[in-house]
């Protein structure tokens, strides 16, 4: 079991919104990432200090997560996206089915975001790679959006990414 899962703050996060969709349907159109992130961002930002800009930031971050699940997910099962709030932070829980080698990959990518050399890795990937790897997308969230990312246990074949985004503090 993931140690972070027992974090005491967990209980104080209040649910804002939850969306579920057949993974097959989600994967049928790339634009679902953009549409869902725009839509969810607007709804959850309406009572933030600067709703327009909070929504812009949140949509940026959520879109990357959805793109990650689009590229790494497999078509059988459900994708679920839930957003919670605690103080100045939103928590996104994104659950989606993926193959077991992807699970391994994700757990490495997540732990890379917490390593001391995260920025160096991120810069290295911008200066060398032509297209970003999923690894880099998570680093981008950690570096540019101050995200804290972990994996939560969920029943195979699904995985759950838990991403805390302290955007209110960055936006206003």
């Amino acid at each position: 079991m993931d140690v972070a899962e027992k974090a005491p703050a967990e209980a104080t996060f209040e649910p804002l919104l939850q969306i579920e969709m057949e993974m097959g349907t989600f994967l049928s159109n790339w634009h679902h990432c953009d549409q869902l992130s725009t839509f969810i961002a607007r709804i959850i930002s309406h009572n933030r200090t600067d709703p327009v800009r909070h929504s812009n930031f949140f949509s940026s971050a959520l879109n990357e997560l959805l793109e990650v699940s689009f590229r790494g997910g497999s078509p059988d099962g459900q994708i679920g996206c839930a957003v919670y709030r605690h103080g100045r932070t939103e928590r996104v829980k994104l659950t989606f089915p993926c193959l077991s080698r992807q699970r391994q990959f994700f757990s490495e990518a997540v732990s890379n975001t917490r390593r001391e050399d995260a920025l160096a890795r991120y810069l290295d990937s911008i200066s060398t790679g032509l297209t970003p790897s999923r690894d880099v997308v998570l680093l981008d969230l950690a570096i540019n959006f101050d995200a804290q990312i972990r994996l939560e246990n969920s029943a195979p074949p699904s995985i759950t990414l838990v991403v805390d985004l302290p955007l209110e503090g960055i936006v206003s």
Binding site: W30, N47, E67, I126, T131, V137, I170
Partner: protein, 392 residues
């Protein structure tokens, strides 16, 4: 779920004269093939420029990592191949993540630098975003509201509409509108963080929580087009060095069939009795002083032309005079005193005016106050209201 009409189309453009390559809108491609044309355009731009290439991302609303990496790759490669050119990436303080994301490129190649364009971008900014204006704005709105409250319905204000107040200042206008007319949605935008903070406090004080105050540049807004029934912009066209550019933005965010409502002054027409000549001299000088800082406080009567040129139809123009007899004469006097502080105490000094000039300049404001408080006096401040409908 429909997001029709919500997304801003992506655009890449290159202007060879200004050596500026700009990206705007939302770009979230699945693969770089989708933006291959834009990538080639950037490469071609790099081949054409000498010295420096500006990459303008002020209005880049969304860009995913796929697109970012693709564009970054081209620029980073060019740094190797073309040590003779510099790259200046122009970001905005409004979309903060672009500044962070593009900022990393400088850590990789010092030839690439980042400029936040709106940290100092319009000539009168230091005066206009100055917090010493805050108390005056509040009294001003209180005085103009007595008139506008009955004028607004003639310009399309009604309950249930969606509205935006652009350059909202301390936001008390929208609070008054909310109480009086109950629009369904209000977005209020300004580029002064201090004013917005004040605005949120004022709204909270009235128990109003659903006004969306947002930080932004009125001439480069992130708001999607065609979404508001009513767009107001009060006393602000007149402080922009390019009022037509601002008006084009107000037009863009307005729904077809909706109305844009602007109020402006003609400062040289402020008046008072007694001592009318001294008052008139000073306000003529106010107009000249503002034009020194590229602001046109004589704009009021020109608003019909501005609205026509911007493409509006069914233009309605009217004017009203705020006077010392409307309500509290002391309020009137307080506003004039505040104008004196900023215009004579700051702007005139900044222009480098002589002490003799400043003394005479101040005298006109003093005389205006004298007229306002005089038992038989009369003091006026004229305002022009104009609105136009965006064609369907």
């Amino acid at each position: 779920m429909s997001t029709a009409g919500l997304s801003i189309p992506f655009k890449a453009e290159f202007d060879v004269n200004s050596q500026e390559f700009s990206l705007s809108g939302v770009v979230r491609p699945r693969s770089i093939n989708e933006i291959a044309g834009n990538i080639s355009m950037l490469k071609a731009a790099i081949d054409q420029v000498r010295g420096v290439l500006y990459i303008n991302v002020k209005r880049l609303v969304q860009m995913n990592n796929t697109a970012f990496h693709a564009f970054a790759r081209v620029v980073l490669d060019a740094c190797q191949a073309r040590p003779d050119i510099r790259f200046v990436i122009v970001t905005s303080s409004v979309v903060g993540w672009t500044t962070r994301m593009f900022g990393h490129l400088n850590k990789i190649e010092p030839q690439i630098t980042i400029e936040v364009y709106d940290s100092k971008f319009y000539p009168g900014q230091s005066f206009v975003e100055n917090t010493s204006f805050i108390p005056i704005l509040r009294t001003q709105t209180k005085m103009t509201w007595r008139h506008e409250r009955t004028i607004l319905p003639r310009h399309g204000m009604r309950s249930g509409i969606t509205m935006a107040d652009i350059c909202c200042g301390i936001g008390d206008f929208v609070v008054l509108v909310q109480k009086e007319f109950q629009p369904a949605r209000i977005v209020a935008l300004d580029h002064s963080k201090a004013s917005l903070a004040y605005a949120r406090d004022v709204a909270a004080g009235f128990g109003i929580t659903d006004i969306e105050y947002t930080y932004g540049d009125a001439s480069e807004m992130l708001l999607e087009g065609n979404q508001f029934d009513f767009v107001s912009c009060r006393h602000s066209l007149q402080i922009f060095n390019q009022p037509d550019a601002l008006l084009a933005e107000l037009y863009r965010i307005c729904k077809p069939g909706g109305r844009v409502y602007v109020t402006n002054e003609k400062n040289s027409h402020c008046l008072g009795e007694p001592r009318s000549q001294s008052i008139q001299w000073t306000y003529n000088e106010v107009a000249k002083l503002f034009s020194h800082f590229e602001m046109d406080v004589e704009l009021g009567p020109k608003s019909r032309r501005y609205l026509t040129d911007a493409g509006f139809e069914d233009i309605v123009v009217e004017s009203f005079m705020v006077t010392n007899l409307d309500g509290d004469a002391q309020d009137f006097a307080d506003v004039i005193a505040a104008w004196e502080d900023v215009y004579a105490g700051e702007m005139s000094v900044k222009r480098g005016d002589s002490p003799e000039f400043i003394q005479r300049f101040r005298q006109g404001f003093q005389d205006h106050i004298f007229a306002a408080l005089h038992p038989k006096g009369y003091a006026g401040w004229p305002i022009w209201v104009a609105s136009g409908r965006k064609p369907r």
